[in-house]
Amino acid sequence: MGAVVEKPSQDQGETRPAPASQSKRRDARFPLVVLALAVALLVTLTLAVTIGPVAIAPLTVWQIAVSRLTGLASGEWSAAHENIVWLIRLPRVFLAALVGAGLAVVGVAMQAAVRNPLADPYILGISSGASLAAVLVILLGLFKFFGIYSLSVAAFFGSVMAFVIVLTLAQHRGTLSPVRLILVGVALSYVLSAGTSFIIFRADDAEGIRSVLFWLQGSVAGAKWSYLTIPSVAVLIGTTYLVLQARPLNALIAGEETAISLGVNTNRFRRMLMVVAAMITGVMVALAGAVGFVGLMMPHTVRLFVGSDHRRVLPVSLLAGAIFLVWVDVLARTIVQPEEMPLGVITGFIGGPFFIWLMRQRRDALGGGRS
């Protein structure tokens, strides 16, 4: 239970300025943390490209990238290496980074919006809506008129549909209560998942079922440069908006009425958060399937290290989410070579135990104190 501490007398407090300067020191140290993570992300991106059936030196990765971008060729590499780096691995690694970053940031926003630490980007039924749409495309061949993009387009619309239904049903007397959002989201997810399961069990297309299951667990295989524009824009706009709203986000997790009394229009703000979160999540799910766990675990892991202030949690989650999912994808494509594992299998196997270990290390945090 909550620790009861000794109470200092009133007058003791006035003469000790140390704690305040400590606070400022932590603020001063924060840019270094971000810089270190940015460097780690750069190293991660580079190393991830070098790893694969054909090993490629880190320097060559950079040379190929520079030569492709600026036309200034220097060094020697084969055309095959260039194709592997530029056409296959780099887009894939970038997509993994974007999806990891986006889901981690949305996880932060969603947990604040519904003030519940168990919330994740999929709480509004977004992944189950996308999944049902994906199953309709893969197994029943619907929406073929979108050509090679039919899966992504259908998945995106599936997630938007689910989101709109949840938001509409959760409205009550003009307000969106967190509890109603969660309950409606969970209920709709069950309905949509039932639909997905029904179609899978009725199907006799074994190859199709396999690709459905693969998609449901998430994958960035087959990424192309052209896939990256939309998620980059979504992550950039979404994250910028959220960082600018860091103060209201803090107020919101401090309590609904606290936020109101601090001048936050909680109804309007929550609705805006939902739209931003749904936009990013919809894009991510459309491109990479429903990668689980990142959006739930990353925000918590980050909070254990930097506290709950969103000015720190958001940028750190962005970078940490990107780094994490790139390495997850490296494992996904190497541990059972030449087969691939879905990302969700790796995030579950590695992330789950890691998260529990982390939580037990820091027993005082995450509900260990009085609430």
């Binding site: 501490v5 003791q12 600018l244 103060r247 401090a254 309590g255 709950s308």
Partner: protein, 277 residues
């Protein structure tokens, strides 16, 4: 800062939780609102800090209707101390108090030295500066309450709303918190549970019952045994305490309430009354 509440009515599914409530708080006053559980105290406060929109009536701060102000402006005028805590999310004390600056900052503004100075002096004022780096969740009830008051101070509002600030606190901290609030010299409207604390600290009182104001005035005006019997359902004897010069209400247990029994200073009934939330 003055508060003017006129004919405020708020209904839930046709049932009036607040009915024609009128309240006035003059600049610098410490005014309390009392009433049994469910009498509408908290709903009234929530209407004032805009968590509830009344169905009818008018609430003005310094003459301006609170619903005509934008959310940030309303929050610059009114600071609220509630019993809400961040639950599963961890904040250190410094961050909790810094939140008080929220209504003063635009989206793009960063915290500057002035904000940090305000936080520091607010923490100093409530004696919590040594706790600045402590996790809020690990504090005791009294310490949490002091931090929340510091947040209200950092908010620099000239009107303070408190919702049962002494709830769940040990006696010593009940007195300490109210002494602190009294000493702030800020216009304050507070819901209270404990009649004796209200009599000791408040300039004026409103008594609520079933959504209506049933009595208003100084503690001497409102604390009449007949009213206490009617509103709170207790037999009580009201005395002037010889040392404080303030009213002292002694609750009489049913077996002692017979006319022959003399008032006892041990008042078990009061524990029941204030112990509930």
């Amino acid at each position: 800062m003055t508060l003017h509440v006129e004919k405020v009515t708020w209904r839930v599914e046709e049932q009036a939780i607040l009915r024609d409530v009128a309240v006035d708080v003059a600049a610098g006053e410490l005014v309390g609102v009392l009433g049994p559980n469910g009498s509408g105290k908290s709903s009234l406060l929530r209407c004032i800090y805009r968590a509830l929109k009344p169905d009818a009536g008018y609430i003005a701060l310094d003459g301006d209707n609170v619903w005509d102000l934008d959310a940030k402006e309303a929050a610059r005028r009114t600071a609220t101390v509630l019993q809400e805590t961040p639950g599963e999310f961890e904040f250190v004390v410094w961050e909790m108090v810094l939140m008080g600056r929220t209504p003063h900052k635009s989206m793009f503004a960063r915290e500057n030295a002035e904000d940090h100075d305000l936080v520091e002096s607010a923490l100093g004022q409530v004696g919590m500066l040594p706790f600045a780096e402590r996790s809020f969740a690990t504090l005791s009830g009294g310490e949490k309450q002091r931090v929340l008051i510091a947040r209200a101070l950092a908010q620099q509002a000239r009107f303070l709303i408190l919702d049962e600030p002494t709830n769940h606190l040990d006696v010593r901290y009940q007195l300490e918190i109210l002494d602190l609030v009294r000493g702030l010299q800020v216009t304050t409207f507070t819901a209270l549970h404990d009649l004796n604390l209200a009599a000791t600290y408040c300039d004026r009182l409103y008594i609520m019952s079933e959504g209506e104001i049933v009595a208003a005035g100084t503690p001497e005006d409102v604390f009449q045994p007949a009213l206490l019997r009617k509103v709170f359902g207790v037999e009580a004897e009201v005395q002037v305490h010889p040392r404080t010069g303030k009213l002292h209400i002694v609750f009489l247990p049913a077996h002692a309430a017979a006319p022959s029994a003399t008032a006892s200073n041990e008042a078990p009934a009061s524990a029941v009354l204030v112990g509930e939330s």
